[in-house]
């Protein structure tokens, strides 16, 4: 077992894990953060997308021991209490989901994009979530949600990037497809 220490949604966490344990498994089983979903467990679907130092990554392809000293943000880390984050609000307004199982991953990919690009084009939004499968076929509304989220951020002149700086996080990287 290895002891790994990292920041998770703003809080310092320490975990003892087997070297083979993925970040996805550590989040879902060891930390009971089940918002991050397991679907393929091999980097094909994007349902487990989280932010690692501000970049979108697949948690199933990230070993927990590799997170030492790093900043992990999951879907549970976006809302402030009961107040939804703009990307979350946009997904509700645009009906950008059906069963909702891929939704956390989609939202994390869009969040990573908006941290990098405040006024994304439609094509940039499509590219940002092209590594996130949605079997219900909500893609059209996911694009609308991405556009709506950008509007909401513009209205509050507050981007995920600004929030990251306020919280003392690293600036966000490029959020495309989630592969490191």
């Amino acid at each position: 077992m290895h002891l790994v220490t990292f920041r998770l949604n703003g809080d310092e966490r320490a975990l003892a894990v087997e070297p083979r344990r993925t970040l996805l498994h550590a989040l879902r089983v060891d930390l009971n953060l089940t918002g991050t979903k397991k679907v393929c467990d091999m980097g094909d679907c994007g349902a487990c997308t989280v932010l690692l130092d501000g970049r979108a990554v697949y948690a199933c392809l990230t070993l927990a021991v590799d997170c030492e000293g790093r900043e992990v943000t999951t879907i549970e880390g976006l809302a402030h209490g009961s107040e939804l984050d703009p990307v979350q609000r946009a997904f509700v307004e645009a009906d950008a989901y059906q069963c909702g199982f891929c939704t956390p991953g989609q939202i994390m990919s869009v969040t990573a994009l908006l941290a990098e690009q405040r006024e994304p084009s439609e094509e940039e939004i499509r590219r940002a979530v092209s590594g996130n499968l949605c079997r219900c076929g909500a893609y059209q509304n996911i694009v609308k949600a991405g556009q709506r989220a950008a509007e909401l951020y513009a209205a509050t002149s507050n981007s995920p990037d600004d929030e990251a700086r306020v919280n003392g996080k690293q600036p966000a990287g490029i959020g495309t497809g989630g592969r490191r």
Partner: protein
């Protein structure tokens, strides 16, 4: 709700049958009724849970001491297990329970099979199961289980399985019963009357549901009471099956499903995993979570049966159909699981007016994973054959494909002779698609197939297809309770499910409308066998049309009681009262009113509870749902790539309760249709019987980049004959016509007909490379 009358019917096959008549449904909302809540694009009520990760799926249940289970599966398509030793697995540190043929109770399951079969019939069939402290330990334990197999001959192709001497899957052979046959008129005798005959064979593939949340559950016991969080479309069926098979009384089994990560039909039955988890939990004394991994999900959790359809259409020179004939063979896999109901023959019998129709469908066992319903089972496959053939007929006759369909329009259900409840529904869909797509101008632009280069190697084409569907009508039984709380809020309770379609929201809109209460004052509770009345499986696009009218009736019942309570308070007769915006008012007298909370406050702690049940469908009408889609494609003749440029759809689902959610269903169904048409195919190695793409890397479901602009034109044709809400289902229909519309567009683009799904790049290139015997614009299908 209450039973009014029970009548004994003439017994069939010596079995007693009874019809049950329950309290009537509410009066129908008029088609032009000015509804306030129904028809509004209200966002999903559970949205905040889904976007914060707090929605709890079966996969997300976490109980103290919970174990994680994994299943050992057969590596052989057909084998007899001669020896199994699990002792090394049992000895592994962290392993809490192991189940196999050696120690499992003898529980019968699908057809003539058992929970753990001695004779496995497909790669992926359950051999043993382990529950351990972690998934990793359970995986380690699976590798320690020793099994000896006597490998048996196998067959994975349906036609090969029918050949003499083919390996037999079951005692009676490889036929699932007698072929299903249907005939009206005289097809053979009418051959001579046809001026043109299309005779072709169409092939559809095995498609995999690939729900993102796999099948699975979490099971735990408290004494002799079992609770299961199952990823299912039917909590009551799971309860009944598990209780019956494991010998438990039903009231000691509770099944919960609040959220489910996709089902598409594959979760409409009780699968083995639920019983295995329950037994592992019993054995270990701990809660057990058993979720299938992605490979198992693709091997052993259902598929759309592959088909081969031999089709003959005969028509007069003016397009009038003379006969329709289809002989379909479908591979149902290793055994029947009880949720197939795949009517490939359905569209051939009803979509077009035709006096002479003959169909036959033969279901064949093969050494592959069992088939199960997949969003409009049978009709997706059948529509591909029929609607491709209709396009070929239109080409042969040089008639516009939509004009040909209108020529053969049927306002009656020709199976039963009854008129449809919405006889103009399909016509309205045709009209809506023609207008929005700009079909007439688009056709003028490119009258000849295969001759529309747009740039370099790209060719443009347009295609059309229509559909009908037996689902979407809803049916009894279905129940609901409406409880009015003292503070003026409302609890609506039903035993049904929201499988991702938006039922929570759409059903609440029905309740708010009938009650006259503000939408935000209502909450819907569903998905729990312990705390709601019985509801049937959420399948067949039926939930809104089955449970909606029951909720409407319950709301009306609650409102009636509320008026009884308010009458003395307002010094008016109950029938002079109305409920608007949360207030009980004396009709026509603006000042005389009481808030609902005031009325209820005066009678508490008594409370008002309305009960409602779903009444029968009309006996003299057939309720179908209909739709039409037009597609524009670009085909690259050098790479074989088909790009969908745009899709325009129109579907008759009766009254639109929530346009936001109807649009999502239509767009989502078409997206799955694009996958079915172009990329999705379970590939089985014929020599080894192994599925080679049981994952999301090589089984290609559509991504964001594969989906074009999809427009859903709202037909919004309330159907008060179908049920008092006027709403029918829309879950399955959008998928049905997409693949043939795309195939017809590809023909239009390249002038070569591809009669097999998916229209992969390889198939497009192969088709282009074939010598063209009839020229590019001629029918290739045997013009007489």
């Amino acid at each position: 709700m209450s039973i009014l009358h029970v009548e004994r019917q003439s017994s069939k096959d010596g079995e007693e049958q009874y019809t049950v008549q329950e309290t009537p449904m509410a009066p129908a909302w008029a088609p032009d009724a000015g509804l306030r809540v129904v028809g509004k694009p209200i966002p999903r009520v559970e949205g905040d849970l889904k976007v914060t990760g707090r929605a709890q799926y079966a996969y997300d249940v976490r109980l103290p001491g919970q174990l994680y289970a994994r299943v050992l599966r057969s590596p052989h398509p057909h084998a007899r297990i001669t020896w199994i030793d699990t002792s090394k697995a049992e000895a592994l540190n962290g392993v809490r329970a192991v189940l196999s043929r050696a120690n499992a109770p003898d529980v019968s399951w699908f057809q003539d099979t058992h929970l753990f079969e001695e004779r496995v019939r497909f790669v992926g069939e359950e051999v043993a199961a382990v529950a351990a402290d972690s998934e990793e330990i359970a995986d380690d334990a699976l590798r320690l289980i020793e099994v000896e197999y006597e490998v048996l001959p196998f067959v994975v192709d349906a036609e090969a399985a029918l050949a003499p001497g083919a390996p037999k899957l079951h005692q009676d052979g490889n036929l699932d019963g007698e072929p299903k046959e249907y005939e009206r008129g005289d097809v053979h005798g009418s051959f001579g009357q046809a001026d043109v005959v299309i005779e072709q064979t169409y092939v559809t593939q095995a498609a995999l549901h690939n729900c993102l949340e796999p099948h699975g559950c979490t099971a735990t016991w408290e004494g002799d009471r079992l609770t299961i969080w199952d990823s299912t479309q039917s909590i009551f069926d799971v309860r009944q099956e598990v209780a019956t098979r494991l010998g438990l009384p039903e009231h000691h089994v509770r099944v919960i499903k609040q959220f489910m990560g996709g089902g598409f039909g594959s979760k409409q039955i009780a699968w083995k995993h639920t019983a295995i988890a329950a037994l592992l939990s019993k054995q270990s004394g701990r809660p057990v979570q058993l979720m299938l991994d992605r490979e198992a999900e693709n091997l052993a959790a259902g598929n759309r049966n592959p088909t081969r359809q031999r089709v003959r259409l005969g028509a007069k020179r003016d397009g009038t159909l003379v006969f329709v004939e289809c002989d379909a063979i479908m591979a149902v896999g290793a055994f029947m699981v009880g949720g197939e109901a795949s009517d490939v023959d359905g569209p051939y019998q009803t979509l077009y007016r035709c006096p002479n129709v003959k169909t036959r469908q033969t279901a064949v066992y093969t050494n592959t994973g069992p088939a199960v319903a997949f969003r409009a089972p049978g009709y997706v496959e059948g529509a591909f054959g029929l609607e491709s053939a209709m396009d070929e007929l239109a080409r042969a006759l040089e008639i516009d494909p939509i004009a040909l369909r209108l020529k053969n329009y049927s306002p009656i259900d020709q199976q039963s002779g009854k008129p449809y409840s919405s006889p103009e529904g399909l016509r309205r869909c045709y009209e809506a698609v023609v207008e929005r797509f700009g079909w007439t101008d688009a056709r003028k632009l490119d009258p000849r197939p295969g001759e529309h280069p747009i740039a370099g190697s790209k060719r443009r084409g347009i295609g059309f297809a229509a559909h009908d569907w037996i689902g979407g009508a809803g049916h009894p039984p279905g129940y609901a309770w409406v409880k009015l709380n003292a503070d003026g809020t409302v609890d609506v309770v039903a035993g049904t499910h929201d499988i991702g379609t938006g039922s929570r929201t759409g059903l609440l809109q029905i309740a708010a409308e009938e009650l006259g209460m503000p939408f935000e004052k209502l909450a819907l509770h569903l998905g729990d066998t312990a705390y709601g009345p019985y509801a049937p499986v959420s399948s067949g696009s039926a939930t809104q049309a089955t449970i909606g009218p029951a909720i409407q009736a319950a709301a009306l019942d609650a409102k009636r009681q509320l008026f009884e309570a308010a009458a003395p308070m307002l010094e008016a007769a109950p029938h002079d009262l109305e409920l608007r915006d949360g207030e009980v008012r004396v009709k026509g007298q603006a000042g005389r009113k009481l808030a609902v909370s005031e009325v209820l406050g005066k009678i508490q702690p008594h409370m008002i509870q309305g009960h409602g049940s779903r009444g029968p469908n009309p006996e003299d009408k057939t309720i179908h749902t209909f739709g039409a889609q037009a597609v524009e494609v670009e085909v690259d003749v050098e790479t074989g790539e088909v790009t969908i440029v745009r899709v325009v759809a129109a579907h008759d689902c009766g009254r639109i309760v929530n346009p936001l959610m109807v649009d999502s269903q239509v767009v989502g169904g078409i997206t799955q249709g694009i996958g079915f048409a172009l990329t999705e195919e379970r590939l089985v190695d014929l020599g080894r019987g192994v599925v080679v793409n049981a994952n999301l890397e090589h089984y290609l479901v559509p991504t964001m980049l594969d989906v074009p602009e999809i427009v859903n034109v709202h037909v919004d044709l309330p159907d008060p004959i179908a049920n008092p809400t006027g709403a029918k289902g829309i879950g399955e229909p959008p998928l049905i016509p997409t693949a043939p519309a795309i195939a017809n567009a590809v023909y239009d683009a390249i002038g070569v007909r591809i009669r097999q799904t998916p229209l992969s790049r390889q198939r497009v290139l192969n088709a282009l490379a074939e010598p063209r015997t009839n020229g590019t614009s001629q029918n290739r299908g045997g013009q007489r």
